[in-house]
């Protein structure tokens, strides 16, 4: 089996913390797979993403990206953060935000211009290149952030609750945009979300995390047909079953941890 990301017995403990935040996390993501990570708040989802992307060094275990252990941010991984207002650079226009990492990589001006235009167009922002983030709506800003990650042509796109800070309509637009990009580019996606519907709607597989010290509580295959559609897909009986199952699992998990506490 061809795994792009292998998380092996990953553990993380903050300095001076009494227990591990991440206890023993073990899962793998296949090439081109769309995997969502869900779990109770405080499970350390963001810490997990930071370890996978090389931003944080785990205190135990390892993360392999295409077979190689990751120790620092890699150009194979693109990240989209929840809070676009903090992850985009407000002193740069949309196109300069996208161009900055390309320029830093020493690409030629023509190639940069082409990649920036392509990336912004693919998220539906053609014509908005000269706008500053603060002149844009939240959904547009998050699309700039997605374009910035895409322009680097990552093999894996990691998204940390990217739809959590926008309104419902924008949210479903963004969901479909991400699905379209995923399908067109064949990029592997790991999406952290706290929204059960979103996890079921988007994913091939859902990884459910436990409470700290966090481990993988369960994984769930989502075999809904693709392409998915906001209305039709969510209207099917299968969607309802999967949604109910995930909901039950998370509630069980919460009850169990409440008993242990």
């Amino acid at each position: 089996m061809n795994y792009v990301i292998e998380v092996q017995h990953l553990a993380f403990r903050y300095p001076n913390a009494p227990q591990d935040t991440l206890g023993d996390i073990d899962f793998a993501v296949r090439q081109g797979e769309f995997v969502s990570v869900v779990g109770p708040s405080g499970a350390g989802k963001t810490t997990l993403l930071n370890c996978i992307s090389g931003l944080t060094r785990p205190t135990g275990g390892a993360v392999l990206v295409e077979g190689e252990a990751i120790t620092a941010p890699s150009s194979k991984i693109g990240i989209v953060f929840q809070d676009y207002s903090r992850s985009l650079f407000p002193w740069l226009t949309a196109e300069k935000n996208v161009a900055l990492p390309l320029r830093s990589r020493g690409l030629g001006a023509e190639e940069i211009a082409a990649r920036v235009a392509e990336a912004l167009a693919s998220v539906g922002l053609a014509g908005q290149e000269k706008k500053y983030p603060w002149e844009m709506s939240g959904g547009m800003q998050q699309r700039v952030a997605i374009a910035r990650a895409l322009a680097l042509e990552p093999h894996v796109l990691i998204m940390d609750e990217p739809m959590a800070s926008v309104d419902a309509q924008t949210r479903s637009d963004l969901e479909d945009l991400v699905l379209k990009i995923w399908a067109e580019r064949g990029v592997t996606v790991i999406l952290v979300t706290h929204d059960i519907d979103e996890a079921v709607y988007m994913s091939d597989r859902i990884v459910i995390l436990s409470t700290p010290p966090t481990a993988v509580y369960h994984t769930m295959e989502i075999d809904l047909s693709r392409p998915r559609h906001q209305l039709q897909t969510k209207d099917t009986a299968e969607f309802g079953h999967l949604r109910a199952r995930l909901f039950t699992e998370i509630r069980e998990l919460r009850e169990r941890s409440a008993l242990n506490a």
Binding site: N50, S53, L55, P73, S74, S75, I77, G78, I79, F81, D83, R86, S87, L88, F89, P90, W91, L92, L100, P101, R103, S104, R105, Y132, W134, E135, M136, S137, G138, Q141, R148, L152, D167
Partner: protein, 282 residues
């Protein structure tokens, strides 16, 4: 508030701003006019040699500084021989202090050990009244321009060091993670992300240092010099030329206002990305 409404608020604010300069003048002008008239009246009523009428000072000011031919932009010879050197020393000293301040502040923020080692020194430098160092500066660098430039740089450097170090250290961790995830080269990360992120505090430091620099150039010129606005003021005072002293003081006040005004202009341009969204939220 959603960003859409923020946008509308921004546009509304900008519209308001465009009509506001006149309003500002309307509010500020009366107090200024009354103060000047009171000055003029008091000085004519109680004639004292040290407090000449306002418009006599203005006339002298014009004669001292603005009586040149058109080829000299109407600026007098005295302006070129005395005010220009002052402005030059001020500019060079401040720029030197600002550049060194950003450099040292960055080193302190990036090298925690160096920062810890230098902290007492920075505190000492911050709390030391720089004018007290003038005799030392002159002893080391002599009476000429070099000594004054060094002196101004020495006074301007501290707030910039502190502002830069604080700005770099206090950067939003999400913004820093986001930059790190993009695999930027160290130079790009520093110049295009870390410095802009720290720029609000750096600008605050620079603003304090501009005022310090204006103050220090005058102190230096009052103490020891053969040219400059400060020198003009002292020599007028020694010749019991009260009007000449006042004319120099007015030029200094103007210099201070222009320096601050230029700073605000540059700041509004450079910090636009921070100022406009913040104003929209008000």
């Amino acid at each position: 508030m959603t960003t859409q409404t923020q946008l509308i608020a921004t546009q509304a604010k900008q519209k308001k701003k465009r009509s506001s300069p006149l309003g500002k003048v309307a509010i500020r002008l009366p107090a200024l006019v009354i103060a000047i008239l009171l000055w003029q009246l008091a000085a004519t009523a109680f004639s004292t040699p040290f407090f000449p009428p306002f418009f006599s000072i203005v006339a002298r000011f014009q004669e001292d500084w603005l009586s040149g031919p058109a080829t000299q932009l109407f600026l007098s010879d005295a302006f070129y021989t005395n005010a220009l050197p002052t402005i030059g020393r001020l500019a060079i000293g401040w720029i030197l202090g600002a550049l060194l301040g950003v450099t040292i502040g960055s080193l302190i923020a990036y090298l925690p050990r160096l920062g810890a080692a230098l902290e007492p020194l920075v505190r000492f430098g911050m709390s030391l009244p720089t004018p007290a160092l003038l005799p030392l500066a002159i002893a080391f660098f002599g009476l000429d321009a070099g000594g004054k430039i060094f002196f101004i740089a020495l006074g301007a450097i501290w707030p910039v060091i502190v502002g830069t170090a604080a700005g770099l250290r206090g950067a939003d961790p999400v913004a820093v993670s986001s930059a790190r995830s993009l695999n930027l080269s160290p130079a790009t990360l520093f110049l295009r992300v870390r410095i802009p992120l720290a720029s609000p505090q750096i600008m605050a430091g620079l603003r304090v240092s501009v005022n310090a620099a204006v103050l220090l150039i005058i102190v230096a010129e009052l103490y020891a010099t053969t040219t400059g606005i400060g020198f003009m003021i002292v020599s007028a005072q020694r010749n019991f030329d009260v009007l000449g002293t006042w004319s120099g003081v007015f030029l200094l006040a103007l210099l201070g206002i222009v320096c601050n005004g230029l700073f605000v202009l540059v700041e509004r341009r450079v910090m636009r990305w921070q100022i406009i969204p913040r104003e929209a939220q008000k």
